[in-house]
């Protein structure tokens, strides 16, 4: 069966975030209309964590999203969809054979990959980031057709390269992880899924008893931000400040560290279930996202002029505290809403 060409009729749509884009496209392939914000919201993607003791590319690590594969796993779980996730394989060859078997059966399959050796990826993003997702949907000779939602069009990648990125090593190593949807029954209970998802997001952002997660984490980051220029000097402080912006804006977030996407999710559900409270919450989330953008604009000036900061770090820190306060209000409002 080696040299046979298989191309599944899979519709590629560009998206802001790789995993929720892949999830929504997979749902669409199985005949359920689902937008990207909807997949992101039900899949519980929104998160914040600040991990100063871990370094990612020489700067403290922070994340605006949940752990890899949360979006697919939770959205299928909450919606009661029959899906399969294979977490790790023992052998690279075995993982490629499993992918081939799936393609022969006509199942588009989601893969977790590392970005560094991904040949078609924009060169400016090629850093060691192992939490990227793409969907393989065809094989032509030795090449695979993959749909990467960051790119505008589907891409081709050789099997050797695909195997290398699927077995990228380091933190959060994918180990050939793959996932797909088996069947979907048509009467899904979207309402209760949304309710559970919002509850879980509120829990993760407000109530987890750990100071570096959620809203508390943003406050902690704001406190640290103030100390950076004294502790590390202006150059390093501006590089660390740049890290916040890189994580929130650059790496496929749809803008403002996923806050825009989550706002769009709240608005869509509000319109779907005729709930004015949810629409009001979406307006608040939109304002929060615009504040994150403003924070980006101001901080970028410090990054441009590294040795002489133009903006006061104290002011930026206050701004982050304010953003954290605004986010807290949104989650407290969401906590009370009954859908």
């Amino acid at each position: 069966m080696e040299k046979e060409n298989i191309i599944i009729d899979y519709k590629h749509r560009q998206a802001g975030h790789c995993e929720s884009g892949a999830t929504s496209n997979l749902f669409n392939f199985h005949g359920v209309e689902m937008s990207e914000p909807m997949a992101f919201g039900i899949g519980n993607g929104l998160f914040f964590s600040y991990l100063p003791f871990l370094k990612l590319q020489y700067a403290p690590m922070m994340s605006f999203r949940n752990l890899p594969n949360t979006v697919f796993h939770r959205s299928t779980k909450y919606l009661g969809v029959d899906a399969t996730v294979i977490k790790n394989f023992k052998e690279p060859k075995e993982s490629m054979a499993a992918l081939d078997r799936n393609l022969e059966k006509g199942i588009p399959t989601g893969l977790q990959v590392g970005v560094f050796n991904l040949t078609f990826f924009p060169p400016e993003y090629r850093m060691h980031y192992n939490m990227h997702n793409l969907v393989a949907f065809g094989k032509e000779g030795d090449n695979y057709w993959v749909s990467d939602t960051v790119m505008e069009l589907p891409q081709r990648i050789s099997s050797e390269d695909l195997q290398r990125v699927r077995w990228a090593k380091g933190v959060f190593a994918p180990k050939g992880k793959m996932y797909w949807i088996n069947t979907i029954n048509n009467n899904m209970d979207v309402k209760s899924a949304v309710e559970r998802a919002i509850k879980k997001t509120v829990y993760e952002m407000l109530k987890v008893p750990f100071p570096l997660n959620g809203v508390k984490g943003i406050h902690w980051l704001a406190k640290d931000l103030k100390k950076w220029p004294k502790k590390h000097g202006n150059e390093t402080a501006s590089f660390y400040l740049g890290q916040i912006i890189r994580m929130s804006e650059d790496f496929g977030t749809g803008g403002a560290g996923f806050r825009y996407i989550y706002g769009a999710f709240l608005k869509e559900t509000g319109e779907k279930f005729n709930n004015p409270e949810l629409i009001a919450a979406s307006v608040m989330m939109g304002n929060v996202a615009n504040h994150w953008r403003e924070f980006t604009y101001l901080s970028a000036r410090n990054c441009k002029n590294r040795s002489k900061p133009e903006e006061d770090y104290g002011k930026l820190s206050n701004m982050l505290h304010e953003i954290a306060g605004m986010e807290k209000e949104v989650y407290q409002k969401l906590d009370k809403i009954k859908i």
Binding site: K169, V171, G263, T296
Partner: protein
């Protein structure tokens, strides 16, 4: 988000891809648009690459003057720390750090060199010579 590409990046290959962005208008609607990154986002990305390139150049000079082994150069070139490299190559951290010395590197066994070459995705010949 802007329509033009690439005014900030020093490398011309950067910033040629259009991405999808969401935005929020004051009338309460969320919009999707395909375009390029804002200048503020590009500034920070270029800042990161400036630092990486600086480190790579430093490492290259060190290797040329015989103060460090070629592993340091390839380590910086693939943007990893000794900790990451130990995971990529399957060699313990303290050994990786020791192999950064040229004296130790010259005595390395072929198998160890092969592990490093695989981790960097190059041949052993390339590993021994830094351009």
């Amino acid at each position: 988000m802007e329509d033009e590409s690439n005014p900030v990046y020093k490398n011309q290959a950067y910033g040629q891809f259009r991405e999808l962005f969401y935005s929020y208008g004051s009338n309460g609607t969320f919009e999707k648009r395909v375009g390029f990154h804002d200048e503020s986002d590009r500034v920070t990305l270029q800042q990161a690459w400036d630092l990486f390139n600086e480190r790579i150049e430093d490492a290259r000079l060190k290797v040329k003057s015989g103060k460090a082994s070629p592993i340091l150069y390839y380590m910086e070139k693939t943007l990893v720390t000794p900790m990451d490299l130990s995971m990529h190559a399957g060699i313990m951290v303290w050994r990786v750090k020791r192999h950064l010395k040229p004296k130790v590197f010259n005595r390395l066994h072929e198998n160890t060199l092969k592990k490093y070459a695989e981790a960097f995705n190059i041949t052993i010949e390339q590993l021994k010579n830094v351009d």
